[in-house]
């Protein structure tokens, strides 16, 4: 990987005399502290170096390298602060550093015909007109490595062919990705999976036996690097004054894993006296999506709506094995189609105020109408006030979550249901920008709830501060 990065850097540097290369970058220092116990939930320094060159009138090349330094030792095996003694002598354990290729692509414009553009390489292809929660933005895998950067996605290796008729009235995009990439998960999500596995174990009663297993054996069957695991997609867009509308189709592997199998091994299946092994395996499944989105400027606000109809490729099942014999099958994601959607608006209210409201049915990692991962409902409200020529910005964020609204209306007591199956996040932040290239931000986020996605965060009330500099 490092050789590849060095090669890219050399190519751009050597390319300098032939065509001009713009070098830029971003530096961010980010820290978050849990209010409950003072734990640093996140403490990292992030840097991005970008190289961009207009090779010719038609050819643009762009590359970005990312560097991420975690400010605490992380054990290679434990993924926690518990290190092997030998690891104390290793820089990558004591000062863990990630190096990544954020993007690397070229765009050839007016290929064969005016208006026909081809972009090939590692790229981010953001679809959808909504803010933050975009149900139709499916061409890049989610990156949950920062659990609070909702909706962050990584670039993917892709070929994007775009044809635009003059004046933007109509355009078509065709996308092919040789490999449909899995999402990057985080420790919070994996802890939730492990807790769920422990509850499955409790149902079997094997948790009461002496445990000689040595802990869960965890594996993830990531998709084979084979053409059958490609992603392909198409999008048609239309624009008239004040209205942008598009329709899309995507076939891909859902980037969030499901539990394909749970295996228990006991000494004697007929009369168990000890648990000898426990394991689970993640896998991925193909899904098809048909989506629509629209942005409509009403003059005083812009309405944004986005809907995605998903068709999982058959019933996605979890099989439980006892001593390698299948004993039970449960549906992880039903074959029934389901719809994720977002409707909302944003408006400049004047005098520096900006309001953004979104209602979402289905978070990034939710899927299906039933089961533990089913779609929940979210109302997100963001109010900003910019003063002093945008140098100072105050922001208030409110997020309400119900699992889910359909059941709440069906419940005998609507409000009791909401309290028992709902949660919220409240946030306040201040951003100071002494110049447009420098930002200092600080704030607080508070979580509470029961039996819903946001409730998982309720022990993570936090204060945060960040510093960002562009060069």
């Amino acid at each position: 990987m490092k050789k590849l990065l060095a090669l890219f850097a050399c190519l751009f540097i050597l390319g300098g005399p032939v065509f001009s290369v713009d070098v830029g970058g971003t530096f961010t220092a980010d820290g978050r502290v849990a209010l409950e116990d003072g734990d640093f939930l996140f403490d990292q320094v992030y840097g991005k170096l970008t190289f961009e060159g207009q090779v010719s009138d038609h050819l643009l090349a762009s590359t970005a390298l990312s560097l991420r330094l975690f400010n605490n030792p992380i054990g290679g095996a434990s993924h926690s602060n518990v290190l092997g003694v030998d690891e104390l002598s290793l820089l990558y354990s004591v000062e863990p550093l990630e190096i990544g290729l954020d993007r690397a692509y070229f765009t050839y414009s007016d290929l064969f015909a005016p208006g026909l553009d081809l972009t090939v390489g590692k790229q981010r292809i953001p679809w959808g007109v909504s803010d933050t929660l975009n149900p139709t933005d499916l061409l890049n895998p989610l990156d949950f490595s920062d659990p609070f950067a909702f909706g962050k996605k990584s670039a993917s290796l892709a070929a994007l062919l775009t044809y635009t008729v003059p004046s933007d009235i109509f355009s078509i995009q065709l996308v092919y990705e040789p490999y449909s990439h899995p999402a990057r998960l985080n420790a919070l999500m994996l802890d939730a999976v492990r807790a769920n596995m422990d509850s499955v174990l409790a149902v079997t009663g094997f948790n009461l036996l002496p445990d000689n297993s040595g802990g869960w054996t965890e594996t993830a069957d990531t998709p084979e690097f084979n053409i059958k695991n490609s992603l392909y997609a198409a999008k048609l867009s239309f624009s008239v004054p004040r209205l942008d509308i598009s329709a899309n189709f995507v076939s891909r592997l859902n980037d969030i894993p499901y539990v394909k199998s749970i295996s228990f091994t006991v000494d004697d299946p007929m009369s168990p006296t000890s648990l000898e092994g426990k394991a689970y395996t993640f896998a991925y499944y193909r899904e098809y999506e048909c989506g629509l989105d629209a942005a409509w400027d009403l003059g005083f606000m812009v309405l944004r709506a986005e809907g995605a109809l998903f068709f999982p490729e058959g019933d996605i099942e979890t099989t439980t094995y006892l001593n390698a014999m299948p004993t039970a099958t449960a549906t992880a994601v039903s074959a029934d189609p389901y719809v994720k959607y977002t409707v909302g608006f944003d408006s400049d209210l004047g005098a520096g105020f900006y309001l953004n409201v979104q209602y979402n049915h289905g978070f990034f990692n939710e899927r299906g109408n039933d089961g533990p991962e089913r779609l929940q409902d979210y109302l997100v409200v963001r109010l900003e006030l910019s003063v002093l020529d945008d140098t100072l910005k105050f922001g208030l964020t409110g997020l309400g979550n119900v699992n889910n609204v359909y059941d709440a209306f069906g419940a005998s007591d609507f409000f009791t249901y909401i309290v028992d199956n709902g949660g919220y996040m409240g946030g306040f932040d201040i951003e100071y920008k002494p110049s447009v290239s420098v930002s200092l931000k600080a704030g607080v986020m508070l979580f509470d709830g029961n039996n819903c996605s946001i409730a998982r965060m309720k022990d993570n009330d936090l204060v945060f501060a960040s510093f960002e500099y562009h060069f």
Binding site: Q54, P166, S171, G299, M301, S435, V436, S437
Partner: protein, 249 residues
């Protein structure tokens, strides 16, 4: 009889003069617009300086603009790094899109922001390289001397412009407004000053423009360079979202 004939003549003269003044104000305004919107299209590089009028902190931005007709505009920031690549496409009365390079995303923004300040400058979106007043204001000559007219522009009913009246000083030599005071709630809120006008081919172009926000005691000075006219920008599909995403040198 003689007296009444004199009075009638005087009335006719006064009426004609008053009518001439009202017409002259709008006529002058028409000539101002003609003088400043002569080219079919043009592109330019602009250097913007943002500063406190008291001499406080100062910031420089560089941007590129493409303009055609009265209502087609593309603006792209070239520097500093924090806003580099951000672009604005404005077509028609209210259709506006913003390109955010960090997200590689084009976002429709509300036409209602046209009266808001443009990216922290003292110019509103409406005021960026735009000299259109006739649709929104009616003008009368307030005063006149050997070198300039002073026009009073009053907002027409139904106009969405932010300022109820403008006081415009127009140079008699070239019909270029040298100073415009923009009034809000009876007091000057902003002052626009054109300190340099260049003749480029057959066109007159204001090349040094300063907008001062009186209440904030802050100003933005914009200097235009590298001007090019009548290049058929519409035919090159410059006023499109596709162009908005394109990188400029």
């Amino acid at each position: 009889m003689k007296r009444s004939r004199f009075l009638l003549t005087a009335f006719l003269f006064l009426g004609a003069t008053a009518g001439l003044n009202a017409e002259t104000g709008n006529e002058i305004l028409a000539k101002v617009e003609n003088a400043l919107t002569g080219p079919e299209d043009y592109e330019a590089t602009a250097v913007m300086t943002l500063a406190d009028t008291g001499g406080g902190r100062k910031e420089t931005r560089e941007l590129k603009i493409w303009i055609a007709g009265n209502n087609k505009r593309v603006i792209k920031f070239l520097s500093p790094a924090g806003i580099k690549g951000i672009g604005l496409l404005s077509v028609g009365e209210n259709s506006m899109h913003l390109y955010l390079p960090a997200q590689n995303k084009i976002r429709m923004i509300s036409g209602s922001v046209k009266n808001e300040n443009f990216q922290g400058t003292d110019f509103s979106y409406n005021e960026m390289s735009s000299y259109e007043y006739r649709d929104d204001y009616s003008a009368v000559v307030q005063s006149e001397d050997a070198d300039a007219w002073t026009l009073l522009l009053t907002k027409k009913p139904g106009s969405e412009r932010e300022y109820e009246k403008l006081v415009m000083t127009v140079d008699k030599k070239d019909f270029v407004p040298r100073r415009i005071e923009l009034f809000r709630n009876g007091a000057p809120a902003k002052i626009l000053t054109i300190s340099e006008v260049r003749t480029e081919g057959k066109y007159l172009v204001p090349t040094a423009i300063r907008m001062e926000d009186v209440a904030k005691k802050h100003y933005t000075e914009m200097t235009l360079q590298d001007l090019a006219f009548d290049q058929g920008l519409e035919g090159k599909d410059v006023f499109s979202k596709r162009f908005l995403k394109k990188r400029v040198q």
